[in-house]
């Protein structure tokens, strides 16, 4: 077991290192950030001063070495545009993204599971077929296009909720979030729904499959034979069994919600990390781009590592296979 974890850890480290090479060298080849920073009427001396201030006059390998040395000490470089440490900038934008992803996850569970339950219980009904058709659309429609339509319908035509921004922040247990004010809630509704759509479809499909499988099992037949009302069988016995895998998968999707939030945040001008990344790419703010990508890679590698370890504890076959290889 320990050997397994150590091997996985080493692999994770290798992935993070390889990604740092790809990202750092890739990002540092694109464009010339200096011309984004100096004023248009700057002379050659100003430009050269800016280049050496940003450390861009050094050989790329030396820049990478300095980056690695900094990264090992938790310093991912300073933003070219804001002059602040890139890491601090990203951490500052992280709560907004987390709150959006969290709301989307809750929406997906609250909307997706009941619909999936219905579709699983009455698979031949018209409503169930409608739900399944809608879930196909949920999978194949591009997120950004759905976001545009949501803005057009709810914000421009109906004027129910605002289209952009984060709204007022409320404070609860010293956590700042727009989930604690009415204005904030009205702002988060559309982006959260937009981000949740794909996961709602996923929750519908998982729940439906689980329910259809469970309804034919012995424990359900036994409960019916015992004379329990259907309501109780479904809500207590069936739900208890299918909720565990559904919620586990949905939890694992949290990482991809944070990844996808790049699109949603840009459309709804949500001031999170994703919007920061797109702005940084457009302004050639290299340290912020590199720092964001490294944080995301680290995030995914950690999630995968935890999943791998959990699975190997739960399922002995995984462990055996790894020792054999």
């Amino acid at each position: 077991m320990t050997v397994f974890i150590i091997r996985r850890l080493l692999q994770a480290l290798l992935v993070v290192f390889m990604m740092s090479v790809i990202v750092f060298f890739g990002v540092n080849i694109v464009g010339d950030p200096v011309y984004m920073l100096v004023s248009p009427d700057a002379d050659q001396a100003d430009i050269e001063a800016a280049i050496s201030r940003l450390g861009l006059d050094r050989p790329i390998l030396e820049q990478y070495w300095l980056f690695l040395k900094g990264a090992a000490q938790g310093d991912l470089g300073d933003s070219f545009i804001f002059g602040e440490p890139a890491l601090r900038l990203i951490l500052h934008h992280m709560p907004a993204t987390m709150e959006l992803a969290f709301s989307a996850l809750i929406l997906a569970i609250v909307i997706g599971i009941p619909l999936g339950l219905y579709a699983g219980l009455y698979p031949e009904s018209r409503m169930a077929k409608g739900i399944m058709a809608a879930s196909i659309f949920g999978f194949s429609l591009p997120t950004f296009w759905v976001g545009l339509m949501l803005i057009m319908l709810f914000a421009v035509e109906l004027r129910w909720v605002p289209a952009t921004g984060r709204g007022d922040l409320g404070s609860f247990l010293s956590i700042q979030s727009s989930l604690f004010t009415l204005d904030g809630l009205s702002h988060i509704f559309l982006p959260a729904l937009n981000l949740a759509l794909l996961k709602i479809s996923l929750a519908i499909r998982l729940t439906r499959a689980g329910v259809r499988e469970a309804m034919g099992l012995d424990y359900v037949k036994y409960a019916r034979a015992k004379g329990l009302p259907m309501r109780r069988i479904i809500l207590v016995h069936v739900m208890k069994n299918i909720m565990i895998p559904v919620v586990t998968v949905m939890g694992l999707e949290f990482g991809s919600l944070i990844g996808f939030s790049v699109v949603t945040e840009t459309i709804f001008a949500w001031p999170g990390m994703g919007k920061l990344l797109i702005d940084a790419i457009l302004q050639l703010d290299r340290p912020v781009v590199v720092a964001y990508l490294m944080i995301i890679v680290l995030f995914f590698v950690l999630i995968n590592l935890i999943v791998d370890i959990l699975y190997s504890i739960l399922d002995p076959r995984v462990r055996l296979q790894d020792q054999g290889a």
Partner: protein, 307 residues
């Protein structure tokens, strides 16, 4: 003798007894009305995109043909040059119908090119993994697993952040984001095929490994590859549109559907919906029709569902 029987069968109006696999496939595919309609829609879209220079009233990127006077006209307005703009015009006075058809050319080219290249690369890698086995297979599949643990959209976004804008760079980013799906599919199918008797027979005949892999195993892996290929191509088109919408995909000089939607976004809040919505509908029809065809192909080509 056999000629006579065939003639008799035909004159009696009976269906021919012998059916090639392709004929059966075609018959089963067209059984589904939705899939047939989707294929029709996709065919029409491709045709419109190919014929764009001959069937549009203007070349939207020829400055001599575009008039700023026509800017932001609602659908059905008459253009300065006299023709009707059925879908309205965008901020710089381009006829949207023309712009959409020209945009489809770019979107489809990028989607199909990246789909085909990713398919070829993924196929080669997957075949190597399946046939080589051992350490090589373990290493390749570990890389594939690793990559598939990241969402494709995120990988593509990382790649464009590292590569920059441009048609070639987007195609490269999409190929990097998608090859692993093909590799996994081919390897899984090829592993099953490798254990079959015809491969053993070919090996006994002393046919070279190269020939066995490419002439004997590969053709039998085509069915799942085609299914994955359609779905991945749809997702490549959608990804390109997303990246271009975010401003990190194609530049303004290569106005794909995604760029058109992004350009219309700023007019949306002021109620000029058509500049964004019509290109969006075109994108939607393309992606959904490919997905519906792919979904049905999966059913038709799945041997376990054979009647």
């Amino acid at each position: 003798m056999s000629d006579v029987t065939t003639d008799n069968a035909l004159s009696a109006g009976e269906p021919p007894v012998v059916e090639t696999p392709f004929q059966r496939f075609r018959a089963e595919f067209f059984e589904s009305r939705i899939a047939t309609a989707a294929l029709g829609v996709f065919g029409a879209i491709v045709l419109l995109a190919v014929l764009a220079p001959w069937i549009t009233p203007q070349n939207p990127y020829d400055l001599a043909q575009v008039s700023v006077m026509d800017g932001r006209l609602p659908p059905g307005s008459e253009a300065f040059d006299g023709y009707t703009m059925w879908l309205g015009s965008d901020g710089s006075g381009r006829d949207l119908y023309s712009a959409i058809l020209y945009g489809l050319r770019i979107s489809l080219t990028v989607g199909l090119a990246s789909g085909v290249i990713a398919l070829l690369i993924g196929m080669a890698i997957g075949l190597v993994a399946a046939y080589a086995g051992g350490r090589i297979e373990a290493i390749i599949m570990r890389i594939v697993d690793l990559q598939l643990s990241f969402p494709a959209s995120l990988v593509a976004l990382m790649m464009v952040a590292a590569l920059g804008k441009g048609v070639d760079k987007i195609i490269l980013a999409l190929v990097i984001a998608q090859w692993a799906y093909y590799a996994r599919t081919v390897r899984a199918t090829a592993l099953v095929e490798r254990g079959k008797e015809y491969v053993e027979a070919a090996q006994c005949l002393g046919i070279s490994r190269f020939r066995i892999v490419f002439r004997h195993i590969l053709p039998n892996c085509m069915a799942p590859l085609i299914v994955v290929g359609t779905v991945q191509t749809a997702s490549a088109i959608s990804l390109e549109a997303t990246l271009s919408f975010l401003g990190v995909g194609l530049p303004q000089t290569e106005p794909s559907i995604g760029v058109l939607i992004a350009n219309g976004f700023e007019y949306m809040l002021s109620g000029r919906y058509w500049i964004s919505v019509f290109p969006g509908v075109a994108l939607l029809l393309t992606v959904v029709s490919i997905n519906l065809v792919g979904d049905h192909l999966r059913d038709v080509l799945n041997p376990r569902l054979k009647k």
